[in-house]
């Protein structure tokens, strides 16, 4: 395993310039040179000349290049998070016998080797029992000795592994629920559609990965973090995807007088604007005037960090920023819970199909009847709708029933008094048959349920909301854009044949292959409420 290497970059001693032999291929005749043999100066065995003129065995016997190189060293390991200490303070995760571990161990030896001017030409692990608390390496060291000979020799090193909890594990173990910052996300609406959508966005962008805990609270979610910067990061992300208003507060927990260290608990109160998609809003005359004469009735079509308001009668869309919204602070008159099913009797398109903001609309006159009236009496409404491109006679549609609704909204009352408002505002098309199983599924965040505060029937309501949310995803590709959909292995394709052609389904190209981690994934899917790190 040992070998003698000669430094060919150094010319032999006492060579004057101009005395190098002519290069091969330069056109000159170069007679063949066979190297002669000399006797080893120590033992007399015949050998090829080398800069030391000693045979390999004599060199090995006399010169030990590993003299002074440490044979034992120590390394510190955290058994909780499987990481090794790199002094003074960083902990690096490394698996057993992995290249990262090799790097960490070699860095411990770098200084002694450099001091002895020994260089490392190779290193590998030697097997040691996993529970022996010893790591063994075999190094190949290279050093220059005598006059220009480079010797290479193997050298075993044994590392003793000391166990110590790293700082974060120690803190976590001392107080597992210790949080430093909390983001309290709230939206004062009776349904949780926004939260479902936000949850999917958070999973996709991995923003909740740093949260120690996610808990459900009345009216929203609480995210607990170990550091203020992580919480601020989540708040920044939320600011880009939803119209929010943030308030911060901090509370002094402890205070070191000698070194001016103050420990606080930070609270970020984030409130999402209460307007959701498909909400019907009646604008006050002032607001209507400020937004450029947008009709008193507007539908909210899209909520990102600005609210998109569509006037269904004039097909104008206005994007309202959070700050401007706060000036008016209008609430939704009717929300998607109050959608009523209508049967479309006749459609008469009024103007050609136009595209605003990426979505297609077409003004049309529609004759509709409420499903509750259909067949029983002749109550038929003729309304202008923006869904002319979607609806055909005989379709089912969902819309707001202004004729029969009882609303608690000042602006709506004022608008009703002043103008002639339509009796029905159609919002979307609805479908009868739905496939039982879908080809895709969604991941959920592990949210802790607030068991004490649950109202009666809340579970069922949540289920329905989730169902509606999933249906929305199916029908709206734009909504799907920001979300990851995973392939569902349990999907049985025979079902597909029983569904009508016009039922929207998610094309298979949009689905992502799910990671099958075995038990982990199943547990998360089933239980859905898991304390601990969010994966």
């Amino acid at each position: 395993a040992d070998s003698i290497r000669f430094d060919s970059s150094r010319p032999p001693r006492k060579m004057m310039p101009g005395s190098a032999p002519p290069a091969a291929g330069s056109g000159m005749f170069v007679p063949t040179q066979t190297a002669g043999t000399v006797l080893c100066c120590i033992c007399g065995v015949s050998m090829q000349p080398n800069p030391a003129n000693m045979c390999a065995r004599c060199l090995r016997a006399r010169v030990d290049i590993t003299e002074g190189v440490p044979r034992n060293a120590a390394v510190v390991y955290c058994p909780d998070c499987f990481s090794y200490l790199q002094p003074p303070r960083s902990w690096l995760r490394a698996g057993p016998e992995s290249p990262e571990l090799l790097q960490i161990l070699l860095r411990r030896l770098k200084h002694p080797l450099a001091r002895l001017k020994v260089s490392l030409s190779g290193a590998e692990f030697v097997f040691s029992e996993p529970h022996s608390k010893r790591l063994r390496l075999k190094l190949r060291l290279r050093r220059e000795v005598l006059n220009g000979i480079v010797l290479e020799q193997t050298h075993p090193v044994e590392f003793v592994v000391h166990d110590r909890l790293c700082d974060s594990c120690a803190r976590a173990q001392a107080n597992p629920d210790q949080w430093v910052a909390v983001v309290q996300l709230r939206q004062h609406v009776p349904h949780r559609r926004t939260f479902l959508y936000l949850e999917q966005l958070l999973i996709k962008h991995g923003q909740a990965a740093l949260a120690i805990r996610v808990a459900s609270a009345p009216g929203g979610l609480d995210f607990f973090f170990g550091s203020r910067s992580h919480a601020a990061r989540l708040v920044d992300f939320l600011g880009t995807v939803a119209p929010i208003q943030t308030n911060t507060a901090k509370q002094l927990v402890s205070h070191d007088t000698k070194s001016f260290i103050y420990n606080y608990k930070y609270t970020f109160s984030v409130e999402i604007c209460p307007i959701c998609r498909e909400d019907l809003i009646a604008l006050s005359p002032k607001a209507s005037r400020d937004l450029g004469g947008l009709g008193p009735l507007v539908l909210c079509t899209k909520v990102t960090n600005a609210i998109a308001l569509l006037d269904p009668l004039t097909l104008r869309v206005h994007h309202l920023e959070e700050k401007k919204y706060r000036v008016y602070n209008f609430k939704a008159a009717l929300t998607s819970k109050q959608l009523v099913q209508y049967m479309v009797l006749d459609i008469e398109p009024e103007s050609p199909e136009i595209t605003i903001d990426g979505s297609r609309y077409q003004l049309a006159y529609a004759q509709v009847a409420r499903m509750s009236d259909f067949g029983k009496n002749d109550t038929v409404f003729t309304v202008r709708t923006h869904l002319g491109h979607r609806l055909n006679p005989g379709d089912l549609a969902l819309g707001y029933d202004l004729y029969g609704a009882n609303m608690n909204d000042d602006d709506m009352d004022k608008a009703l008094l002043r103008q002639n408002l339509p009796e029905v505002v159609l919002v979307k098309k609805s479908y009868e048959k739905r496939p039982r199983t879908r080809r895709w599924k969604l991941k959920r965040l592990p949210v802790e349920e607030d068991l004490g505060n649950k109202a009666k029937g809340e579970e069922e309501r949540r289920e329905n909301e989730y169902d509606m949310f999933v249906r929305d995803l199916e029908s709206d590709p734009e909504l799907r854009f920001g979300i990851n959909l995973y392939k569902n292995e349990d999907y049985r394709s025979e079902m597909a044949s029983t569904i009508g052609d016009d039922v929207p389904t998610v094309p298979i190209e949009e689905l992502i292959e799910d990671l099958t981690l075995g038990d982990d994934e199943d547990e998360e899917e089933e239980e859905g409420a898991d304390a601990g790190m969010v994966e």
Binding site: K14, A35, G36, T37, V38, C41, I42
Partner: protein, 246 residues
Amino acid sequence: WFGVSQFENSCEVGVFARLTNAYCLVPAGGAENFTSVFEAELADTVPVVKASIGGMRILRTLCVGNKKGLLLPHTTNDQELQHLKNSLPDEVVVQRVDERLSALGNCIACNDHVALTKPDLTKETEEIISDVLGVEVFRQTIAGSILVGSSCAFSNKGGLVHPQTSVEDLDELSTLLQVPLVAGTVNRGSDGIAAGMVVNDWAAFCGSDTTATELSVVESVFRLRDARPGALGADVRKSLVESCFL
């Protein structure tokens, strides 16, 4: 005889002394132990002359000679020249050479019949060498080095050359010099042959680091085992003289 010695704690004894069949030059001043070794062995056969060349003690590198003559570089003083002319036997012709290079001992290696010089020596110097020393001059390189005087040491009986000399070169040199040659080392594997030893037909001195293997090689190639200073005698005295100091 062959002996092992040191000059002022340096094993490179070949740098300081010039040994031929007719005389021996040793550096003047300095430690007496070195010269005493030479005197002890050689006093009854050849004169041991203390000298300096250009004020320097590295005699062998500066001058070159054999039993017929001695060539000195242009840096030699007149006094030193005169001193040498006086001290050396009359048969020895002492001449100063006006060669640009003053380390004649590194450029030229000779015995009583043949001289090897570096390939780019001037014509005049070559003529002087052949006249004064009475030798045939060959231009050669040894083991890729043009300093032939330091890469080899040879006498009329045999020669030791640089360890990295190839077999073809060895044959060629041997044919030129008409003596057996061997590639080897002195002073524990050192490449500087001529710097590590001084040799003439019957005596050799090596640096104190020389190992037994190297000594045996030297002994066998220079035929020192049964060498005598020209006289016939029944007894063969072989002694290993070691002198160490400081």
